[in-house]
């Protein structure tokens, strides 16, 4: 079989062997690395247990959608258990696996039920794509992603994550790198899974500040000069990220169309002039240039706006709020317009929207959709820090070679390794010296009140998967 020959090639080649294409690598990836059983355990929410309240048909009502090679969608797939799912994945070797809602009946039998067939339960999901930021990022567009635009994603993760926890009271939140140019979020709390479409829309709107484009400017809903506490919190996160990472990375204030576009947010022509004057002064007086030019210019802009605000305030008579309002707002407006998370609202609004499963492999880039830790999201490197299917298979081969020298058997170890990098936050109890062992997210089980944990035998011995295995 082609499958075995590929495996042999891998085994012989090891890490230094010939590169193989993503498609070729997928059967092996699915057979040896893809964590089907863990996925099933997660999506069963305890209903796979012997618990009295467990609904043994729960998992069987969950829709999966396979995208086969050549963009063929196979929707409404459902599986009895992990073994059935595993078998189907191995047999069809899909490019992509999407997870849908839990329906009122097995999706395979949907025609029998007619209108009685409807989605009953689904994680609250979010999708943020860098493509939606194309008008405010300078490093690239479309499917592009790099370290320069990742800060946009990392502030988005921080803002949404904090909001979901503090404001909505959700606890079990899983963030996943979507494999190419964005991130996904799965809120797994029982209450989140029960939300109606209207309530989902409400959460999405709560987080949505970006209201589309008008007259060449991104429209953000900042009413008056006063911010809602939720917006204020987001603004706080953005303000610090703006100067520290976003501005220098995106170089928004270096001469060019981007800079012109940004200046359009200033409410007065005179103010634009003042800002430009300040900038030329700054460039003359800048010594040695140890400060980033964008930051310097930003400080100047802020200063100019503040001066103008003070001037307006000190005027005699009644304060003209028509003038003062836009002035006080404009700095935050710029930051919000450029960096506030832009959700793909449609994904969140409907219960029956599909979303790519974690640990899928992007067919073009070969990157694995690994979970993210919101606490360390800044350090995530979407370019080189993500395991690819070929790199993982290389490690698998290398580990096998090592195993012949009497160490532990390779497949188990590698699946642990995948978890070591992939699953989220750090668990001290699993920490081995120098390893970056992490504990997975723990969606609380429905029915049974235990927490779900990935089992990782011999985890203490695990090395980070991005480093070459021991030789």
């Amino acid at each position: 079989m082609a499958d075995t020959s590929k495996k042999q090639r891998l085994d012989q080649g090891g890490t230094d062997g010939p590169r193989i294409s993503v498609q070729e690598a997928m059967p092996t990836y699915y057979a040896k690395l893809f964590p089907t059983q863990h996925m099933v355990k997660w999506l069963s929410y305890g209903n796979d247990s012997k618990h009295a309240q467990a609904d043994s048909h729960f998992f069987n009502r969950r829709e999966f959608c396979f995208t086969l090679q050549g963009d063929i969608f196979v929707r409404y797939q459902a599986f009895k258990d992990g073994a059935a799912l595993q078998e189907a994945i191995l047999r069809r070797c899909p490019d992509k696996i999407d997870i849908g809602p839990v329906y009122s009946a097995n999706p395979m039998d949907r025609h029998k039920f007619g209108v009685a067939f409807h989605p009953e339960e689904r994680e609250l999901v979010f999708d943020i794509d860098l493509t939606d930021y194309d008008d405010v990022r300078t490093c690239g567009s479309g499917g592009h992603i790099c370290g320069k635009c990742w800060p946009l994603m990392s502030v988005a993760v921080k803002i949404i994550d904090k909001g979901l926890r503090d404001e909505f009271g959700f606890k079990h939140i899983l963030w996943v790198y979507s494999g190419r140019r964005g991130i996904h979020c799965w809120v797994c709390d029982p209450s989140a899974r029960q939300l109606s479409d209207e309530q989902r829309s409400a959460v999405a709107s709560w987080f949505a500040m970006y209201k589309g484009h008008e007259e060449g400017k991104a429209r953000v809903a900042l009413l008056g000069g006063n911010m809602h506490p939720a917006v204020e919190r987001a603004a706080g996160i953005l303000r610090s990220a703006w100067v520290q990472t976003l501005l220098p990375a995106q170089q928004l204030l270096e001469d060019g169309p981007q800079c012109e576009a940004l200046l359009r947010y200033l409410p007065e022509e005179g103010l634009v002039e003042t800002v430009r004057k300040k900038w030329t002064e700054a460039s003359r007086s800048r010594n040695a240039g140890n400060m980033d030019v964008n930051v310097v210019r930003w400080r100047a802009l802020e200063e100019a706006v503040n001066e103008r605000v003070r001037e307006e305030r000190s005027k005699k008579g009644v304060v003209n709020f028509k003038v003062l309002g836009p002035l006080e707002r404009c700095v935050d407006e710029i930051i919000m317009a450029h960096a506030y998370p832009r959700l793909d609202m449609e994904v969140s609004k409907k219960m029956n929207h599909l979303l790519k499963a974690p640990f899928c492999v992007h067919p073009k880039t070969g990157k694995v959709c690994v979970p993210l830790d919101p606490n360390t999201v800044d350090d995530f490197d979407p370019v080189d820090g993500v395991p690819t299917v070929t790199s993982l298979l290389g490690e698998l081969a290398a580990a096998k070679e090592a195993a012949e020298g009497g160490k532990r058997s390779a497949p188990v170890r590698l699946s642990c390794q995948l978890y070591a990098t992939a699953s989220s936050p750090a668990s001290p109890r699993h920490m081995g010296a120098g390893s970056m062992q992490r504990r997975p997210y723990l969606p609380r089980l429905a029915g049974a009140s235990t927490y779900y944990q990935y089992s990782s035998p011999g985890a203490a011995a695990v090395q980070p998967s991005n480093q070459p295995g021991p030789s």
């Binding site: 009271g169 209450s191 309530q199 008008e214 009413l223 008056g224 809602h228």
Partner: protein, 574 residues
């Protein structure tokens, strides 16, 4: 007629079969003009009254809907006034016993008013339930009825006084607990921020702001002011956020750990939501048990009557457009688009032609509209494939886009027959920088809008009118102004509420003008072998009613008529 003379159990009995609720009858306090409609009426009424009440309520609902569509920027107060005026017009003195009651109580005014009020409540309840029965049959009807009823309820409840609110709330929503004093103090500042961000009145804000601060002051001022302070004390309710999605989506509440802090004033949506679920559940329950709804012996008489209620549509329905002007194909689409499409669709067509691509929102908005004007699915596939052509190969098109087009036509997936977007949907839709869908009067800046209208050969004066309307946020009025400018007609009596309406009106006007011109030309031809110039004059003289009405725009009219005559002459010759 005999069946009118004897009171029939029909209307009364079917409702009481709803069960469950009937037991609660009597416990519920009747608010004079507001009801959750949880108790179906149970009395005998005549068929005539049954129908009369239902039609009256239907008129109120439909006229209210039309009023809202046309005047989307009125205050709640004005809407309520309109509603009361409509009720006065349609519902007054309708019930059979109303006149009798009024006559009997003629002597004492107070008794008369209370009798009249009781009568009102009764009419309200019966008419609601009859319409509920009529509108429970399809999802579409249920949705319309639900929206209208909720809107009416919301209006009335929103204008209630504080005390009425409290009463109604303790009656229907006892699960909402007041936030205790200490807790309210701890979140006070955050609540003030929320109120500020929502531009609430200074008075309301300061009431919350001063909450718990002036205790000392109050004591020193004596008992009277403490009483006043208690009266003015802000009251907040702690509610699971899932119950107030409306407030959450507009960020109008403070959220902490899944709890929303809702002020007494903002509770209306909660109650409306409850009302909506109640009516919605009742509707689907009725639909499910439709067969048991009518007593066997009444089925023959009542069912057709109830069914006919939904057909007496006063709402503009554009589904006829496709059949009336169903000559649209991929081949003539560009011409049709140039002559009859509203700007939102014309804009999409031209962007599509220029970029050879449209993003999803645009494809959806244009595609459903094309379906609405009667472009068959096969033609739609031809059209989109050819428009996407150089950039996207036929094969890629079939893979990526064809499914969605078939889906829109109800041939894939759950096979829903989707309808074209209305203006409210389009105006409300927003898109990113690469998107072209949505309402151009909202999304385009002024210069781009002027240019686009100029391309449509819109009258200059009307261009300015449209631009200024758009600037003030009256996008549908702007569209109507543009229509008037493009078609050179005097002010339309209806605003534009859907792209299909614009299209239908445009087709109608052009058809009228063409037929007038054809008649004129034909007349000229039969009268004598006249010269072309004479024919043109005849066409002018032949007159068409729509254009004749537009007496104030004489100059442009001439041009239009010439054009119309020119268009149609070859047709007449054939």
């Amino acid at each position: 007629m005999q069946f009118l003379a004897t009171t029939k159990p029909g209307a009364a009995e079917f409702t009481s079969q709803l069960g469950g609720n009937a037991a609660r009858k009597g416990n519920e306090r009747m608010f004079s003009d507001l009801s959750m409609y949880s108790t179906p009426p149970s009395e005998n009424i005549t068929l005539e009254e049954f129908e009369r009440l239902a039609l009256a309520r239907l008129s109120v609902l439909k006229e209210m809907e039309a009023y809202r569509l046309r005047h989307s920027n009125k205050t709640e107060k004005e809407y309520l006034d309109k509603l009361n005026q409509l009720k006065q017009k349609h519902m007054k003195g309708l019930t059979a016993s109303a006149a009798a009651a009024a006559a009997a109580a003629g002597a004492s005014g107070a008794a008369a008013t209370s009798a009249a009020r009781e009568e009102e409540v009764r009419a309200d309840n019966i008419s609601h339930y009859v319409l509920r029965l009529a509108y429970c049959r399809t999802a579409e009807l249920r949705k319309w009825f639900l929206v209208q009823e909720c809107e009416m309820f919301r209006l009335k409840f929103g204008m209630y006084s504080a005390q009425e609110h409290e009463d109604f709330l303790s009656e229907h929503a006892p699960q909402y607990k007041l936030v205790p004093h200490a807790e309210l103090l701890s979140v006070r500042d955050a609540i003030v921020k929320v109120m500020r961000s929502n531009l609430e009145t200074r008075e309301a804000i300061s009431r919350v702001e001063n909450f718990g601060r002036d205790d000392a002051d109050a004591k020193s001022k004596g008992p009277r002011s403490t009483a006043d302070a208690r009266e003015l004390e802000p009251k907040f309710y702690k509610v699971a956020w899932t119950l107030v999605p409306e407030l959450v989506s507009q960020r109008r509440v403070l959220l902490r750990g899944g709890w929303a802090y809702v002020s007494r004033e903002a509770l209306a949506p909660l109650v409306v939501a409850e009302f909506r679920t109640g009516v919605s559940r009742g509707l689907s329950e009725m639909a499910r048990r439709w067969r048991q709804m009518f007593p066997a012996e009444e089925e023959q008489r009542l069912q057709p009557l109830v069914a006919s209620l939904t057909n007496r549509s006063l709402v503009a329905d554009y589904s006829g457009v496709a059949t009336r002007y169903g000559d649209v194909s991929a081949a003539n689409l560009p011409q049709v688009a140039a002559r009859h499409f509203p700007l939102c669709m014309g804009h999409l067509v031209s962007q599509l032609a220029a970029e050879r691509h449209l993003r999803h929102g645009g494809r959806q908005q244009l595609g459903l509209f094309l379906k609405g004007i009667g472009l068959p699915m096969e033609e739609a596939l031809v059209f989109w494939r050819s428009m996407f052509a150089p950039r996207c190969t036929g094969e890629a098109f079939d893979k990526q886009y064809a499914y969605n087009i078939r889906h829109n036509y109800g041939r894939e997936g759950k096979r829903t027959d989707y309808t074209a977007h209305k203006c409210t949907t389009i105006v409300g839709s927003s898109g990113g920088p690469g998107d072209h869908h949505g309402c151009p009067y909202r999304r385009l800046d002024e210069s781009a809008l002027r240019a686009a209208l100029g391309r449509l050969k819109c009258d200059d004066r009307k261009v300015e009118e449209a631009v200024s309307k758009a600037r003030d946020g009256h996008y549908q009025l702007a569209c109507a102004a543009a229509f008037e400018g493009v078609h050179r007609v005097p002010e339309m009596d209806v605003g534009i509420s859907a792209p299909l309406q614009y299209y239908a009106e445009s087709r109608r006007i052009c058809a009228e003008r063409e037929s007038a011109a054809v008649q004129g030309a034909a007349a000229a031809a039969t009268e004598a072998a006249a010269a072309a110039a004479t024919a043109a004059t005849a066409a002018d003289a032949g007159g068409d009613p729509a254009a004749a009405a537009a007496a104030d725009a004489g100059k442009e009219q001439r041009g239009v008529k010439r054009a119309a005559a020119g268009d149609s002459t070859p047709g007449a010759a054939r």
